[in-house]
Amino acid sequence: MNEFVETLLELTWHEPKSSYDVVIIGGGGHGLATAYYLATRHGITNVAVIEADYIGSGNSGRNTTIIRANYGIPESIRFYNHSVDLYRNLEAETGCRIMHANKGLIWMAHTESGMRAERSRVQLNNACGVETVLVDPIEIKRLCPQVDLTGGGRYPVLGASFHVPGSTARHDRVVWAYAQGAMHRGVHVLQGTSVTGLLRDGDRVVGVKTSRGDISAGIVMSAVGGDVSTIAAHAGLRLPVRTHPLQAFVTNGYAQGLGPIVSSTDLLCYVSQTARGQMLIGHEFERESSYSRQSSFQFLQSCSLKMAYLLPFVRNLKILRQWTGRCDISADFSPIMGFTGVEGLVITTGWGTWGFKGIPAGGEQMAELIATGRTPDLIAPFALSRFAADHPMADQGSTGTR
């Protein structure tokens, strides 16, 4: 047993109290990070995180762990860049080994229009202080010798943007690092407890109904991933969010090293190598909205085919496992954080297929919002009210490959 698991065994689990200052629905990365930052940055520890299943059982334990800030609008670049910075210091801050690894990220383009998009991405990233550079095919080959520059004869690689800070971290360790940091400071994490409704006093939300009884709260935060519309409906709230499945799979070990994370903006698939040497491969989300976590053979076929065009060596690997998450895809492909217009209820959602990288900054900023009652500048552009103000944060091109 390693040190990490030993410290987890020292955690104390609690019975629910009848009331907390803050109740957070959902024990994924965003819920737990918010609890952690409430405790560490603001001294607020009378907090419960309520999780229907086990913590990390949602998307936070199912993602492909890519961390990056190479977005296409300044508001997002700033936000994610801050999250990239927090990730860099997370091991030192929490004392938990989250296996953070800076690998760099190659975003390949196969068309002239794709190259144009990458050129403007590079300029905007640099203008916002984020290190992304344009690379030609020769440079791509140097960064990642395994790439077939002809794209299997069908998808010639014209160039790429190379995002220097692109990284990965072990997803369930991130979840547990935040849970442990919060619990050691007095936060209650209630696993196996599902929220079935919201307690109301007039229009105000004053607590939650759960499978283990009612719990009142000074403020309630929803951080339930793909289930957000169900929770919002309890408050009569309709959201610009649809739930779509997203699949991924992992192969057996590849004996050599794949240096950077490799992804194709035109083929909408991407790959990174895990610490065990396996290839972790993902794709665009399923086009039909659905709450089903059914994985499909059709996905394995189409995604492996595309990956084999780019990295022919994957043909010799075997697929070990596949799985599916349910993603809260927002209408403008950007997160939605903050006040909801319903008093007593704040929300963090719209994390879609891209929210693992946002866990540290999302948690930190939502904790500040809850503690101070004011929206921090960094997340003000991501308020739910942007839709009524006709000011969406549209950035689909940057989410295509997580």
Partner: protein, 78 residues
């Protein structure tokens, strides 16, 4: 979900269709014009259960139809 029944063409492979999303249905309690427009453009019921939705038979009759699907298990209701 491998086939979809097109009202014009009968059962066809799902790949022939384009998903048009849930049918926008602003709730009756919204009476203000702006609120109804806002809801129609941006908001979704996103039901975990039966959803009324639009499908376009792209590789077939090129017509839209409305169908009901249980999104919890991803199965059409006939």
């Amino acid at each position: 979900m491998l086939t979809i029944v097109c009202p014009n063409c009968g059962p066809r492979a799902v790949e022939e269709f384009r998903f048009g999303g849930e049918l926008p249905q602003p709730p009756d309690r919204l009476t203000d014009d702006f609120d109804r427009d806002l809801d129609r453009v941006w908001m979704f019921t996103n039901a975990d259960g039966v959803q009324t939705e639009r499908w376009f038979h792209e590789a077939g009759c090129h017509r839209w139809h409305t169908a009901q699907r249980d999104t919890t298990v991803d199965r059409f209701i006939d």
